[in-house]
């Protein structure tokens, strides 16, 4: 094999990875930003996987009914808000553990979505539009890699907004206070429980929107195998990103690229170990979790009220 073909193959592999990262990362991005908001308030919502799937189903259904994909996105967000409110309210009862409630809601959300979504498997709903960032190029491969969904720039902008807001807005400071030391927040007169419920609802909204992306853009249909655990991996991603929205965005792109590794290699004609490469995001999750937990050290940047940071 000559040098040039080698270079070409590598270039198109990189392009495929870039395209994959841009395409696949959006649900990671939204779910992790949502989880970031929730965890900053001192609670963990493991149920976002269920929210994601329920949002995908709800969004698809409403888009089908109204003919507008954007109303579908809104509906998906509202499904998420309801799930978030449910989680927030349940966890506010005495002696209720947020992680256990999260697991219950994950099963509840997916189950409900499968149950209500039966009639949605066949019909085709209108899809979200995409933006051609690669129109200037005459390489078809580049154009397809740079064909992104509007939700992606929205999500990236949101990451920036959250980064600013956590430091420089009344809401952000109150949220972080509640997540850092609830007793202090109470002593200062900040309403701990309402803020946490609000943060969980907001997190649910974003996770729902992430779900709408799955059903209304990529892969762009409703079926029961739609999510492959993105909602759960996004939770791990928040820890890896050390609760910073900007790092969440970076990590989401990284996870997107890892998810695109299998298909990208396949498109290069490398089929050996296809399933192995498809497992890349999961392996990455495990590796990153192992790398970010150093025994005997508290996790820098972790909100002090999270149940797993309490010693």
């Amino acid at each position: 094999m000559s040098e040039t073909t080698d270079g070409l193959a590598f270039g198109s592999l990189a392009l495929a990875l870039l395209g994959g990262a841009l395409r696949v990362s959006t649900p990671f991005l939204f779910v992790s930003l949502g989880e970031c908001i929730t965890e900053k308030s001192g609670r963990i919502n493991l149920g976002l996987e269920g929210t994601l799937v329920l949002g995908a189903m709800g969004g698809y259904g409403i888009a089908l009914l109204t003919g507008s994909p954007w109303l579908g996105v809104l509906a998906a967000g509202l499904c998420g808000v309801l799930m978030g409110l449910l989680h927030g309210a349940l966890c506010s009862l005495p002696k209720v553990n947020d992680i256990a409630v999260g697991i219950a809601l994950m099963l509840f959300g997916t189950g409900l979505a499968f149950f209500l979504g039966k009639p949605l498997i066949q019909p085709q709903a209108p899809m979200l539009p995409s933006v051609e960032l690669g129109a200037w190029s005459d390489s078809e491969q580049l154009r397809s890699a740079l064909r992104i969904n509007v939700l992606l720039p929205l999500g990236l902008a949101l990451a920036g907004l959250l980064h600013w807001g956590f430091r420089s807005s009344r809401w952000g400071l109150a949220l972080r206070l509640v997540g850092d030391n609830a007793a202090a927040a109470r002593a200062l007169g900040y309403p701990v429980v309402p803020i946490r419920i609000g943060a969980t609802a907001a997190g649910g909204f974003l996770a729902g929107v992430g779900g709408a992306f799955l059903s209304l853009y990529y892969p762009g249909s409703w079926n029961e195998g739609l999510s492959s655990g993105q909602g759960l991996m996004a939770v791990a991603l928040v820890i890896f990103a050390r609760w910073s929205p900007l790092r969440c965005a970076l990590a989401a792109l990284l996870f997107g690229a890892a998810g695109a590794l299998g298909p990208a290699l396949q498109s290069q004609g490398i089929t050996a170990g296809y399933y192995l490469f498809n497992a890349a995001p999961y392996v990455l999750t495990l590796a990153l979790m192992a790398a970010s937990w150093t025994p005997g050290q508290t996790l820098a940047g972790a909100p002090g009220e999270l149940s797993f940071t309490q010693r």
Binding site: L173, A174, L177, A187
Partner: protein
């Protein structure tokens, strides 16, 4: 003209410390009467001290005053007018603020953010440039100095205490209540903080009411005192007119001797010490953030001696104690007990008779929501006579646990004397006693103690010091880590000074140069200036 004088007067009053009076206050917790018909008076612009034994009701009284839990009976007067204080909000309206016994800061946030959050009326969008400038102006108007951008978790205890006080001053308090503010501080830090507050009361800007167990602080900074005893008013007066002896008698209700034990004589130190019980060789350990906290530390503790470790908090003492107790793994070096390798497992602790009183015992030595009896049984609940029976299935014998707990509660004066109470509901001093009972009643061969009298009243302090001395005379090896130099000077046979994770200085009792120790604690004087 009249109106103008009036506003001028009002403004004048607003910038002065408040005068506060409590009138016949009673507070009950279920069957327990924590405060019984207590009246007291604090003059405007004075530095008032509230004294009493552990569990006397001091914290309860001031919590009533700040509306944390309103009393059943009685009333409060502020500047001569009766005020209903039903919630912290009411207290804030009257500009009465309290610094609690534990820190109420958000550790993950910066000093500036903590101050701003305390103010409460934040704008939707925070203009940090303007806010920081305003905060810097405010800081300049107080005698306290802090870095606004520092993260609270990175501050030393003294700085956190300053921030707690600053938070209250930022809210414009006219009465500042401090609940044992110096229990977490080194003597130098304590003097600095109290000196600054004292200065503010001299300007008449502030009234301070401080709960303390330290007579030294009362005589150095106090104007007047109120003493509580078992929920009742035991006496009050001006500091100049009451001797330490008088105050101590009011606290315990009978004649006492407050003279501390004489310092160890050199002859005493020359007494033959026994075999090496604890040997630490080149020990290294990291702190929670992965930075080296203990660096190649060597030390030896022999049977029948107390080795004191002095040092400013945060120089690796905490990590050293944690390694010795098995709470933290060492990153290098070796620990030997009785010449054998030691990894602080339960079997080794038992075999070598290692006992300990770590700091913050509620967190480090207790299970907060288990009962006093259960907590007292943590060392030996799994061996006879507390477990056993049928087919050696090792059932727990609760009766035996409770019986022993009753004995210990009696012997160590734990209050309330109820073995089934959850230990987290005991006052700080009583948690300490319950843990001490567990750790000092066994066959102690090696004892590791950190700040053993932290937050205890003088009578309990005396009792514990006597017990430590007794354990030493009975042949135990004791490692005593303390931030209180007086305590170390009184008890230790040898004093080591720890600085930046190393032993910076060693001295035998009787040959101690206190000034030299101070210099070494401050890192050879370099860090202190």
């Amino acid at each position: 003209m009249d109106a103008l004088t009036h506003t001028l007067l009002a403004a004048d009053v607003q910038d002065r410390g408040a005068a506060v009076e409590a009138y016949r206050v009673t507070k009950r917790f279920g069957a327990l009467t924590a405060l019984d018909d207590v009246s007291m008076k604090v003059e405007a612009g004075s530095f008032h001290c509230l004294l009493g034994e552990n569990g006397a009701g001091k914290s309860t009284l001031v919590k009533c005053l700040v509306g944390y839990h309103p009393p059943e009976e009685g009333s409060f007067m502020v500047d001569g007018r009766e005020q209903a204080i039903r919630s912290p909000r009411d207290a804030q309206r009257l500009r009465i603020g309290m610094v609690y016994q534990h820190f109420t800061l958000a550790p993950g946030m910066t000093v500036a953010e903590n101050l701003l959050l305390a103010r409460g009326d934040l704008p939707l969008r925070i203009d940090w440039r303007r806010e920081k400038a305003a905060l810097a102006t405010f800081l300049a108007s107080t005698p306290f100095r802090l870095d606004l951008n520092a993260r609270v978790a990175d501050l030393a205890a003294g700085e956190k205490q300053k921030l707690e006080i600053l938070k209250q001053l930022y809210l414009g308090q006219r009465l500042l209540i401090l609940d044992e503010p110096t229990s977490v501080l080194t003597p130098t830090e304590a003097d600095e903080v109290l000196g600054l507050l004292h200065g503010m009361t001299r300007d008449g800007r502030l009234t301070v009411m401080m709960i303390t167990h330290k007579f030294r602080e009362v005589s150095a900074y106090g104007d007047s005192v109120t003493v509580l005893r078992r929920g009742k008013l035991a006496g009050s007066g001006r500091v100049g007119e009451l001797s330490t002896q008088d105050m101590a008698e009011m606290m315990v209700g009978s004649a006492v001797s407050v003279a501390t034990a004489p310092r160890r004589r050199a002859a005493d130190a020359g007494r033959m010490a026994g075999d090496i019980r604890l040997g630490v060789d080149g020990l290294c350990a990291d702190n929670d953030r992965g930075m080296a906290a203990v660096r190649e530390l060597d030390l030896v503790v022999r049977a029948g001696e107390i080795v004191g470790i002095a040092g400013v908090a945060g120089n690796g003492q905490k990590e050293l104690v944690e390694v010795l107790l098995g709470q933290r793994s060492a990153s290098g070096g070796a620990v030997r007990v009785d010449g054998e390798a030691y990894g602080a497992t339960r079997a080794e602790l038992r075999r070598h008779g290692v006992f300990s009183l770590p700091e913050e015992p509620l967190r480090n030595a207790c299970v907060p929501n288990m009962s006093v009896a259960e907590n007292m049984g943590l060392r030996d609940f799994d061996i006879a006579p507390f477990s056993g029976g049928w087919l050696s299935l090792r059932f727990l014998r609760r009766g035996a646990l409770t019986r022993r707990a009753k004995e210990w509660i009696e012997a160590f004066g734990v209050r309330p004397p109820d073995p089934s109470a959850a230990i987290e509901n005991l006052s700080g001093g009583n948690v300490q006693r319950a843990v001490l009972a567990r750790e000092l009643s066994g066959a102690v061969r090696l004892l590791i103690v950190a700040n053993p009298v932290f937050g205890l009243d003088f009578a309990a302090t005396e009792a514990i010091h006597r017990r430590l001395d007794q354990a030493r005379n009975d042949g135990a090896a004791i490692l005593l880590v303390s931030e209180d130099l007086d305590e170390l000077l009184e008890l230790s046979d040898r004093i080591l000074v720890m600085s930046e994770g190393r032993i910076a200085h060693q001295a035998l009792a009787g040959y101690v140069d206190v000034a030299e120790i101070g210099r070494c604690m401050a890192g050879h004087g370099a860090g202190g200036h």
